[in-house]
């Protein structure tokens, strides 16, 4: 069957299998930041934004999001210039192996769009579906806090 996806503002007409997951389709058309890990809706690594809300692409049927808007980490940076969340993740040591980071950044982005000044508790709650086996989470929580400060104009980039 044919579907249309708007990925990071770019329209894609795609032939898919009716039982195919969004994760596989996105990777097939070149969005390799979307990664498979647990494949059971448990780890958050495959997180993308669907109409601005974080969802798990490993357990979303591609056919169910026909015509809708998807955002991945490929759409975050502006050429060579990284998004404030990406920059803060680097500065705070929030990425080690880096495998979970695209999903985490998308969840962080959704949080900051909804709440530009989140408390520590709100950050922890928002990110609790993004499992990281390297960092122990504190650097990532700090990074989201720092990115929020930059995005509010309280801290220089």
């Amino acid at each position: 069957m044919k579907i249309t996806l708007n990925v990071n503002g770019k329209l894609h007409d795609i032939d898919i299998d009716p039982g195919e997951y969004l994760l596989d389709v996105l990777r097939r058309i070149g969005y390799k930041s979307v990664r498979r890990s647990c494949n059971s809706a448990s780890c958050g690594t495959c997180t993308v934004l669907l109409n601005g809300k974080p969802i798990l692409s490993c357990s979303t049927f591609a056919a169910s999001v026909d015509g809708q808007s998807i955002e991945t980490v490929e759409g975050m940076s502006d050429g060579e210039k990284l998004h404030p969340i990406q920059e803060a993740i680097l500065e705070e040591g929030g990425a080690q192996c880096g495998y979970c980071i695209p999903g985490l950044i998308m969840t962080g982005e959704a949080l900051l769009r909804e709440n530009i000044d989140p408390s520590d508790e709100e950050i922890k709650l928002a990110l609790n579906g993004n499992i990281c086996r390297c960092t122990g989470y504190e650097p990532q929580n700090r990074a989201i806090k720092k990115a929020a400060q930059v995005m509010r104009g309280e801290l220089d980039e």
């Binding site: 069957m1 299998d17 009716p18 039982g19 195919e20 997951y21 596989d24 059971s40 809706a41 958050g44 997180t47 669907l50 809300k53 974080p54 969802i55 798990l56 490993c58 357990s59 979303t60 049927f61 056919a63 169910s64 969840t107 959704a110 709650l125 928002a126 609790n128 579906g129 993004n130």
Partner: protein
């Protein structure tokens, strides 16, 4: 990928969706949020009937009750201003414990009740608030309590279209124990009371993930009637739940462990309710 799926339907009406299911019940499945269907890895499924196309994702107030479309996501429901205000953040707080943010953006209220999952926090909370369902089945539309839906024969596959809620003076609290912050419940407990002159006029006590379907503990509810709402009340509720607990063992927890957990969670829920009233 569900490799045997060869047809994907987007019905426009409830009747059409139900008819599609009846055409091939053995190989068809309703898709709502998708969090359960996508993980089934079943070779049996050949036809997906996507209920999102029915646009049953609105929340409205009609004739004194709140009517929630079955495909409303858990996150939209818990953050809805009407739901937050009417239930004093009961659902807002309770559903923050359901899965992760991502899962709550996908999973729907109707889709959480429909498969009759023992561990569903959503089902426990809907039972705690005395909610009803509108279903469409062989006899057309029918309204029934969530508990009656659970009692339907397994072979019946009616379609849940709406959930109806009414607060009616109940004060509710929910507690859950799970291995990790967004794991399914080892045990969950919901408790509601209507207070009258600092005593319990009537109570609802629901326990889920026993591991059977969430169920009301009616003997506990009867024993709670006329209890004074004071510092001792939560401990009494704890003892009552401990004595009356019915459930079983599975790989997650033993019967004995669940019995202890449920009684402690009931005490905590009773403490919350007491704080809200006094």
């Amino acid at each position: 990928m569900l490799s045997n799926v060869n047809e994907y339907f987007r019905p426009k009406t409830v009747e059409e969706a139900y008819e599609l299911m009846q055409n091939d019940r053995d190989h068809s499945i309703f898709l709502s949020g998708g969090t359960i269907v996508a993980l089934m890895e079943s070779s049996r499924i050949e036809k997906i009937i996507d209920l999102k196309s029915l646009r049953l994702d609105t929340i409205s107030v009609t004739e004194g009750e709140i009517v929630v479309g079955a495909t409303t996501t858990i996150e939209s429901f818990r953050k809805d201003p009407v739901i937050r205000k009417e239930f004093d953040d009961f659902f807002y707080d309770a559903f923050s414990l359901v899965g992760s943010w991502q899962i709550r953006n996908m999973a729907t209220i109707g889709g959480s009740v429909a498969p009759k999952l023992g561990w569903s926090d959503v089902s426990t909370c809907l039972l705690t608030t005395g909610s009803s369902l509108m279903i469409y089945g062989v006899d057309g539309y029918q309204r029934m309590l969530v508990s009656d839906y659970f009692a339907l024969p397994t072979g019946e596959k009616p379609l849940i279209t709406h959930i109806m809620l009414k607060r009616d003076g109940w004060v509710s609290a929910f507690e859950k124990f799970s291995k990790t912050t967004f794991d399914i419940a080892t045990v969950n407990v919901g408790l509601s009371i209507i207070p009258e002159r600092n005593r319990i006029k009537v109570a609802r006590v629901v326990c889920g993930s026993r591991p059977q379907y969430p169920a009301r503990f009616e003997s506990v509810e009867t024993a709670m009637v006329d209890l004074e709402i004071n510092d001792v009340m939560p401990a009494i509720v704890r003892s009552l739940v401990y004595e009356s607990f019915t459930g079983g063992s599975n790989m997650t927890a033993s019967f004995e462990y669940r019995k202890h957990l449920a009684s402690v969670l009931a005490q905590r829920a009773a403490e919350k309710v007491k704080e809200m009233i006094t």
